[in-house]
């Protein structure tokens, strides 16, 4: 009886030690991966229709957020990016990059008709104008708030696709300082 009990105790301690070792290896690696490489997120709201969430609240798209691509804060006009909301730091918003630093944009609903994007900032807009809380409300956002680049839609399966970095021609900047890879004014 005692020999059996000693054996089972040995088994429990060994299992516990193995669990702790695995835990302290797995958790930091997983957290670092989700913070630095990629993660997934569900999109809510109608501000990016029809690119994201065309079905409204019935079916929310799930997108793949790529942190690695923005590790040097390099974005192009037309990219769909997620950023920390300048009005509410607890929330992340997902919008399209319309203009980079140095560009002059023609705004929709902003207090100034034309805005020059300052250094280190970008101008973001949702695709669904009028139903979007974006730079037309809060102005240019600092690149430091950039969180990730949304590259693919992962769910629902019928909407599997790579998100293209296209800028609608009517939203091209009036004047741009930096060259863009996609299209030209």
């Amino acid at each position: 009886m005692t020999a059996g009990m000693a054996q089972s105790q040995g088994w429990v301690t060994r299992y516990f030690k193995a669990f702790c070792k695995g835990f302290f290896v797995a958790v930091p690696v997983a957290v670092t991966f989700l913070d630095r490489v990629a993660c997934v997120a569900r999109v809510e709201g109608a501000s990016m229709q029809p690119s994201l969430n065309p079905g409204g609240s019935q079916s929310s798209d799930v997108v793949l957020l790529n942190h690695w691509k923005v590790r040097n804060f390099e974005v192009q006009r037309g990219d769909i990016v997620s950023l920390v909301s300048p009005k509410n730091p607890e929330q992340k918003i997902i919008k399209r990059v319309i203009a980079l630093e140095g560009d002059i944009v023609k705004t929709i609903g902003h207090k100034n008709r034309y805005v020059k994007v300052p250094r280190g900032h970008i101008w973001v807009e949702g695709d669904h104008h009028g139903h979007s809380f974006d730079s037309n409300s809060f102005g240019p956002v600092s690149l430091g708030l950039l969180h990730a680049h949304a590259t693919h839609i992962l769910w629902p399966p019928e909407r599997w696709q790579k998100l293209e970095s296209v800028l609608p021609p009517e939203r091209l900047p009036v004047q741009s300082e930096k060259e863009s890879l996609h299209g030209s004014p």
């Binding site: 302290f24 290896v25 958790v27 930091p28 690696v29 957290v31 670092t32 991966f33 913070d35 630095r36 040097n72 804060f73 920390v84 909301s85 300048p86 009005k87 509410n88 730091p89 607890e90 300052p118 250094r119 280190g120 900032h121 956002v141 600092s142 690149l143 430091g144 708030l145 950039l146």
Partner: protein, 205 residues
């Protein structure tokens, strides 16, 4: 460079030792260069994978520590004198940022609004909704500004020599990286950081 050489030599010695032990244990027949080749390959491959694995593991632990707990930072620049001098080493903690516990009077590290790759170190003068005095004391008409929601107003302690919110406006809370609370170098100034030498700047106090 010498550190890398020492590492390479130590790995080589470990590998040779490993091969010797293996040869004594297995005692397999056949030409000595075949068994040497086999064990060397296995030994070096195994060691490399283990080294890479440990490096990844420690890098991830370091990332989690700096991101969620805090770290040691060296500050440069004159904008926070006399509280923090050039080349002082301070401790920063990130828990206040994650729990939204940053208060007026805290010294914070934030990403620079005009250059996301560099950090700035300033004191929080006002939180969202606060009324900030933006006119200079020499101005006749005093002007006030309200800090918008989700933003903070940062100013350096060395008001004459600091580019801060008086220059680039209120800073979004999301740019704050951590709170500085302790100085560890120079030893003559070791300890918790002092209050602002400029007194309170928002008339609401």
């Amino acid at each position: 460079m010498s550190f890398m050489k020492l590492k390479a030599i130590s790995i080589l010695l470990t590998v040779i030792n490993f091969i010797n032990n293996n040869n004594k244990k297995s005692g397999d027949q056949g030409p000595w260069w075949q068994s040497l080749h086999r064990t060397m390959l296995r030994g070096i491959l195994g060691k490399t994978f283990r080294l890479v694995g440990y490096t990844i593991q420690y890098a991830c632990i370091a990332h989690c520590a700096f991101e969620y707990v805090g770290g040691v930072v060296m500050c440069s620049g004159p904008s926070m004198e006399p509280t923090i001098q050039n080349s002082d080493i301070v401790c920063a903690e990130n828990l206040s940022r994650h729990f939204y516990g940053i208060q007026r009077g805290d010294i914070v590290i934030a990403k620079s609004p005009s250059d996301p790759k560099s950090n700035i170190c300033k004191r929080v003068i006002g939180l969202e909704g606060d009324k900030i005095l933006t006119s200079r004391p020499s101005d006749f008409f005093k002007s006030h500004n309200y800090v918008p929601t989700g933003h903070v107003w940062l100013e350096g302690d060395n008001l004459q020599n600091s580019t801060d919110s008086r220059y680039y406006g209120p800073v979004p809370y999301g740019l704050i990286r951590g709170r500085i609370f302790f100085k560890i170098w120079p030893l003559s100034d070791f300890g918790f950081l002092r209050d602002s030498p400029n007194g309170h700047r928002s008339p609401g106090d």
